[in-house]
């Protein structure tokens, strides 16, 4: 989902940055509030960040014969709410842009929007929905992480389609081409991410059952976002 350095027209690169900055700001404030409320959750936030760090470094093969990587943002979004993942996502994307020439500074705003904003918000939306439908927690986590991952790649496809509309078939025609590259490749990887997220959240709740009560409550009461 990394749009490469310099690949978005300047005005769109700036536009996505302008859209993303407020989310990162609100995310920082949300993290600060949560840490002030529960200082013992500081380590858990580190776990959410570490999970994103690991998963976004793993380029996995897909049935389309290409490779891509999961995002790992679903776990943290479910535990801390979608906003908290915005600054964490920026940190990961920045590391990759500077040290790996993967993504870029000019496309940091657009990549943040897809990976650190849309993905986590979709994940939490699915998580709440699964709570309303009274799905077992593992299923809720699985679908949240999987669809959050997929949503990130769908977003990237549309961002690129918007920047490079097909001369004949326009933005939608172009989007279908980018979706073929990104979203279809991503389907098995998103499933893998969903499975791994369930395993990790299972482990975390075994270490500290209080987390379970917290995120479970958040799911039912729709508190995860505040």
């Amino acid at each position: 989902m990394h749009i490469a350095e310099g690949f978005l027209p300047a005005e769109q690169a700036i536009g996505w940055t302008v859209v993303s900055v407020p989310f990162v700001g609100m995310g920082l404030r949300s993290i600060k509030c949560k840490i002030a409320e529960h200082p013992e959750r500081r380590m858990l936030l580190g776990v959410a960040a570490a999970f994103t760090f690991v998963l976004s470094s793993l380029k996995l093969p897909s049935i389309t014969g290409s490779c891509s990587h999961p995002t790992g943002t679903g776990l943290g979004a479910v535990m801390f709410g979608p906003l908290a993942m915005a600054p964490i996502g920026v940190a990961v994307l920045f590391f990759q842009a500077i040290l790996l020439a993967h993504g870029g500074i000019t496309t940091l705003g657009a990549n943040t929007f897809s990976m650190a904003i849309v993905g986590p918000f979709v994940a939490v939306g699915v998580w709440r929905l699964s709570g309303a439908m009274k799905l077992p927690m593992s299923y809720g986590v699985f679908f949240a992480a999987m669809l959050g991952d997929l949503a990130t790649y769908v977003t990237t496809s549309f961002q690129l389609a918007l920047a490079f509309p097909d001369p004949a078939s326009g933005v939608l025609g172009s989007a279908s081409k980018f979706l073929l590259v990104f979203a279809v490749t991503q389907i098995p990887l998103a499933v893998t991410e969903g499975l791994l997220t369930v395993v990790v959240l299972n482990a975390l709740t075994r270490f500290d059952p209080a987390i379970l009560a917290d995120v479970g409550l958040a799911r039912l009461a729709g508190r995860a976002e505040s």
Partner: protein, 102 residues
């Protein structure tokens, strides 16, 4: 680790391994399993042949080997923290149990 977790991890491993078994190497002799990100760059070139990236990465890893070194470093840092947290929690829970026994 519970049985459910082991089953999930096995499914995940199969999902990762399966494409390498099922997908044949491209007929035109190019290397398979290219990154989707770079495929998207090629696609941009096809849709807008005149487009030139207007900004270059400040630094690019000098080789694929160096790049994989940095990716491994990224994964290593993340896993290191996850392992540290797991060890810390397990140790804390164990010492709490010991204290509550006496």
């Amino acid at each position: 680790m519970k049985r459910q977790d082991i089953i999930l991890l096995v499914i995940a491993a199969v999902l990762v391994a399966l494409p390498m078994v099922l997908v044949k190497a491209p007929a035109d002799g190019t290397q398979g399993f290219q990154g989707a990100d770079s495929q998207a760059q090629v696609l941009v070139g096809k849709i807008a042949p005149d487009f030139k990236p207007w900004f270059k990465p400040l630094w690019t890893p000098p080789s694929v080997e160096i790049q994989s070194l940095l990716f491994a470093l990224q994964a290593g840092i993340g896993c290191g923290f996850l392992g540290y947290y797991a060890g810390l929690r397990v140790g804390r829970n164990r010492s709490r149990e010991e204290h509550s026994d006496t």
